[in-house]
Symmetry: C2
Subunit: 531 residues, 2 copies
């Protein structure tokens, strides 16, 4: 039996487009690759995750029409494809096994994740019991994603006679995820003595990125095939009964490379799926905007990227030189618009009500917001999505101006700490030196007042970032973080800053999730908190 792995990039809500992709891919699997069966990702017809779109009354009709279209327009190949199944009282996260105009079997996801970025118990009723179907002389155990993250469902499929497990998935990327998937799948193979065909989707959906990396393992848990990460494609593997031959394994990406690929994939899909032709961003001469520019160019091509430098009296010559240099080496459109006139006018309008009050962060925020106004005006007038250039460390402690440098529709580096930003910039410069060295060696500064440095307001990033990681990703208390070797007073101060910045994060644009816990769907802290 030859099985196709359809590692496709679906578009949430675009049901007829997704259905056409499924039809085309299934026909290619049949005609070009001679597959008997082709496996698609979880909820491929609706896209994943469809969120509250599932509740919309039109959804059921559209999905049922899509399923009919597959049944009526496909012959000679079996398809295992995910879709939301509606009964009159419930919705199921289901997948159908279709062949020659008939639904031969239907599996309803048994284990519904409701943690981290997942809210599936909000939408779905769980399925019950194993689904095993005989096809082409082989008994196939049908499962969906989280079903294989618990031990029971695959054991139940085995008990029901399965000889091979098919899993369709919507498994989002984060650092190290492919490794944990493969470890887990090997365990499931060994516990059942069954081979597994695991198909994951690829592409970005708001803050989530799906990295593909579909795999096939044999009954002993040996990895027999791995599809490339972050690439759409149709792949095939020929099974001799339930024996799995060794095929070429696409490489496991090194960590930094995999994160960079997640950033470009997430950015490209956000821009394209939302119908933007181009992006605009503010370039400051610092590391964050320099890396964001690289991500944008690598995601979209230089001709779709517009960089704007917006100097003030505090902008150094170095910043101006380096910003221009980078735009030249990447070949993007570059404009320089001074914020000085707007900054001065704004201060004069406020002079009377501010009489007698000393200068403070207000004046710094005004500068950042003057930049926000200019960038949003360019975005509005030219129809370009504004990319926000901030990083996770800033977002955590609130070292960013709401409606200023936080303005924008998408924030590629939102889940990258400052430490990771430097790591990624060095990785990108390793491919070709596009970011001037000085950008990566100078001391971080917001350039909003004379001789300002980030360390005037924050602990150095080599202290700040591990504290943030322990708090954000591990929920460690002040005591627990102090025990890791950090000054207790600094830890307390950092955690207090994180708490106080919640209101800013609530108004931040989405960005690409690359860590185990991003500021987004998997961070649901109250704003009002006396903790």
């Amino acid at each position: 039996m030859k099985i196709g792995l359809a590692q496709i990039n679906t578009h949430v809500g675009a049901i007829s487009t997704n259905t056409q992709v499924v039809l085309d891919t299934a026909r290619r699997a049949r005609d070009d690759l001679g597959c008997d069966v082709v496996v698609f990702p979880e909820l491929a017809l609706s896209g994943y995750p469809p969120e509250d779109l599932l509740f919309h009354r039109g959804m059921r009709l559209r999905v049922e029409a899509a399923l009919d279209s597959l049944l009526n327009n496909l012959e000679g190949i079996a398809v295992y494809v995910g879709y939301p199944e509606y009964s009159d009282t419930a919705i199921y996260n289901a997948a159908a096994f279709l062949y020659n105009g008939e639904i031969l079997a239907r599996h309803r996801k048994i284990v519904l994740p409701n943690y981290a970025v997942f809210d599936e118990k909000r939408y779905f009723q769980p399925g019950e019991g194993a689904t095993v179907i005989e096809f082409g002389g082989l008994r196939l155990g049908l499962t969906i994603c989280e079903d294989v993250w618990e031990p029971e469902p695959v054991l139940a499929a085995k008990a029901a006679g399965a000889e091979l497990l098919l899993v369709c998935n919507g498994s989002p990327y984060h650092l190290g995820k492919q490794q944990s998937r493969e470890r887990l799948l090997a365990e499931r193979c060994r516990s059942t003595n069954l081979p597994i065909v695991y198909v994951n989707m690829v592409g970005g959906q708001d803050e989530l990125v799906f990295d593909g990396g579909s795999v096939v393992l044999d009954a002993k848990g040996e990895l027999r095939y791995r599809a490339p990460a972050f690439a759409e494609g149709l792949f095939a593997i020929e099974l001799d009964a339930a024996e799995v031959p060794q095929q070429e394994l696409a490489p496991l990406l090194p960590l930094t490379e995999s994160i960079y690929a997640a950033l470009t994939t997430g950015t490209r899909d956000y821009v394209n799926k939302n119908g933007f032709q181009s992006v605009v961003l503010g370039l400051s001469g610092g590391a964050d905007s320099a890396l964001t520019l690289c991500v944008a160019v690598d995601a979209l091509g230089a001709d779709r990227v517009h960089a704007v430098m917006m100097p003030s009296r505090y902008t150094s010559a170095m910043s101006l030189e380096d910003a221009e240099l980078q735009t030249q080496s990447l070949g993007v459109r570059y404009d320089v618009l001074s914020i000085e006139p707007i900054f001065e006018t704004t201060q004069s309008v406020l002079a009377e009500v501010f009489t007698g009050l000393p200068a403070d962060a207000t004046e710094e925020n005004i500068q950042a917001r003057c930049r926000g106004i200019l960038l949003m005006a360019l975005s509005n007038k030219l129809g370009r999505l504004l990319l926000t250039t901030g990083n996770k460390s800033e977002m955590a402690v609130g070292y960013a101006t709401l409606y200023g440098d936080m303005a924008g529709g998408f924030a590629p580096l939102k889940d990258c700490t400052k430490t990771l930003v430097y790591q990624l910039a060095h990785y990108r410069n390793g491919l070709a030196t596009v970011i001037p060295q000085r950008v990566l060696t100078r001391e971080p500064t917001a350039e909003l007042r004379p001789d300002q440095k980030d360390v005037d307001s924050l602990p150095p990033y080599e202290v700040l970032d591990p504290i943030l990681e322990a708090f954000i990703e591990k929920d460690y208390s002040v005591d627990q973080i102090a025990e890791l070797g950090f000054d207790r007073a600094i830890v307390g101060r950092v955690l207090e800053m994180v708490k106080r910045a919640e209101y800013k994060r609530r108004q931040a644009p989405p960005g690409v999730r690359v860590s185990g816990r991003a500021f987004g769907r998997d961070w649901r802290y109250p704003i009002t908190s006396g903790y």
Copy 2:
């Protein structure tokens, strides 16, 4: 047996403060009212809903210390109080029945809501089985909130011998909620032939408002006591065995009055619990900002409110006059800051890059953002929370400028349609005419270009608002809404606008939830959507 109903206002995360409130209230119930038992709301010790704070490693220690403090510092009265209970592998939404230093019983919430604004399956494991305790010669069935929204748990308590049901609640307000609570509770009384003592919390927590309205019903489901809505307080009822005497019923608030009370309660608690002394807002001469100003003054007092009019070349004399008039009648600080100089300077900075491009919404957005800069500068410099004045109709269709009129920390009217805004304004003027009549009779306009009217861009609000309501609150499809008697093309256009504005809503400040579905926790539509 005399039972106290402690309708308190807790503060999420402020565990020692909440614990002190519980101690003080319990002592008052004992000493002043002679109660034998006092019932507190759901999760009273942590505040409700604590969201991801529950995962923080310090939470367990703090809650256990709070519980110890109750056990060690209270005698002579039994307390039924909610708190998060931690085992080594799970968290429970629990409530303890404490008396003279001992936990006599502990109930774990059985039914965990995971719909609308609720995510309890993200945090809690469900409890199992009824909890019945004999105290003062009466067998008390202990339950928590959602437990009584399903038929089984109270029947189980009855079967286990309960003679009276105690329910501690964190039941958020929306329009008509008290009526549906009372209907439901009457049904539970009748199905079990048991009286119910139902205690709800009061106060605002981010977008949620809890309206109190604690009640006692007899075994036949007759309402015997109703505590006032939107008011903190300790109330008591004396039961003769399980007989419930009739006491005075606080009035059910008329709908408009109850919404207005929700707005002031939510705004007051957001401002106070987040430590702000005062608020600032932009006053335009239109109905939304006029009503927001009333809400702010009624929530906080005139001396904590600062109104700013920011005219441009398009601002009418009527707007200037009416804004000033209202601030005089309410007695708030009023400043007038023209945006013209900043608007002109911004346009001149952009003139070169905009060469040859016609004027469009960009110039309107720049004006709104000039106002955003000024208001945020005042907020930053004077330490005043900026209130956003937009309504739900605008928020739905995206008729608002991100970082412009959408700027701010809290949006009191976020869940009020334009139709409701007028209704509330007339209600408020009925108490005392503070909003000039013209503000409520003139045609709605954003005053961002000559002779602009809302109806140039939107259907009239009497058409728009019912379409929005059918879509947002009932998930109706285009066809279903058209069947209500609306033009199909208009419905399609409105729903498309709602879809396209998702990215704006994602960056909007929180506001008070008053409808069955607000743009907040219970609206989780994807931004990227091809639906």
